[in-house]
């Protein structure tokens, strides 16, 4: 299956795109990755003289891979869904390890349910050594423009 198509249909661009590739996707979940390049702008401010990836950005990365990529797939299979609108409705995350500039992370998301346009997932992020970086429960409401 062409997972690049899913990434192409994400409603984000740099500097707020936090998905490089989707490795695997089906009705039950998704797995994808992203490399936090050293040049990313927020490292200049978080923290001063001590760059560490902000927790909110880790959450965003989990949401873009775990919720939005999966949502695009669930709405229209491998063909994906252009013009997806999504709103994050809840996030409950716990963080275990810092992610330093230049690190590549993997996000694994498992669908808890997708009903009445609400997608709720169990998400986990791992670093390149397969250590757990963060985990949590994310939920969002999905809509296509054509649904209106």
């Amino acid at each position: 299956m062409n997972t690049d198509l899913i990434v192409d249909q994400l409603p984000y661009v740099a500097p707020f795109l936090f998905v490089d590739t989707v490795e695997r996707i089906d009705d039950m979940g998704v797995e994808g990755n992203f490399t936090f390049r050293k040049e990313l702008d927020f490292y200049r401010g978080h923290f001063k003289d001590n760059p560490v990836t902000p927790g909110v950005i880790l959450t965003e990365c989990c949401a873009q891979i775990g919720l939005v990529c999966l949502g695009i797939f669930l709405l229209n299979g491998s063909k994906g869904t252009p013009n997806l609108k999504i709103g994050l409705s809840s996030s409950q995350m716990e963080y275990y390890k810092p992610v330093m500039p230049g690190e590549k992370v993997k996000v694994v998301s498992k669908k808890i349910y997708y009903r009445f346009h609400k997608l709720k997932c169990d998400v986990r992020m791992y670093d390149s050594k397969e250590s757990l970086v963060c985990k949590g429960i994310l939920a969002g409401m999905l809509k296509r423009d054509v649904d209106e």
Binding site: Y113, R115, F116, G140
Partner: protein, 86 residues
């Protein structure tokens, strides 16, 4: 199960999702979920899923679409529970 009992079960489900500035007394049959109880659409889905478990019924997209007030929900619950018995 009487109508009163159904309302009490539903009220107990809804109160979990109320914003903190609203008390459980705000939940009356005529309450509008989004406008009066300030429940967002994501929590409305949670309420529907809890209702399904509590009454052992299944709601469809069209039920969700017409569920504007507590009364609407009670009406849908009554019909689904009745359909299950017949």
């Amino acid at each position: 199960m009487g109508e009163e009992t159904k309302f009490h079960i539903l009220r107990d489900i809804i109160k979990v999702y109320l914003p903190e500035d609203l008390s459980v007394d705000a939940i009356v049959p005529t309450s509008n979920f989004l406008d009066e109880l300030n429940i967002n659409s994501a929590h409305l889905v949670d309420i529907v899923l809890d209702v399904e478990d509590a009454f052992d019924i299944q709601l469809e997209n069209e039920d969700m679409d017409r569920m504007q007030t507590v009364n609407d929900a009670l009406d849908i619950i009554a019909k689904k529970v009745q359909a299950k018995l017949t």
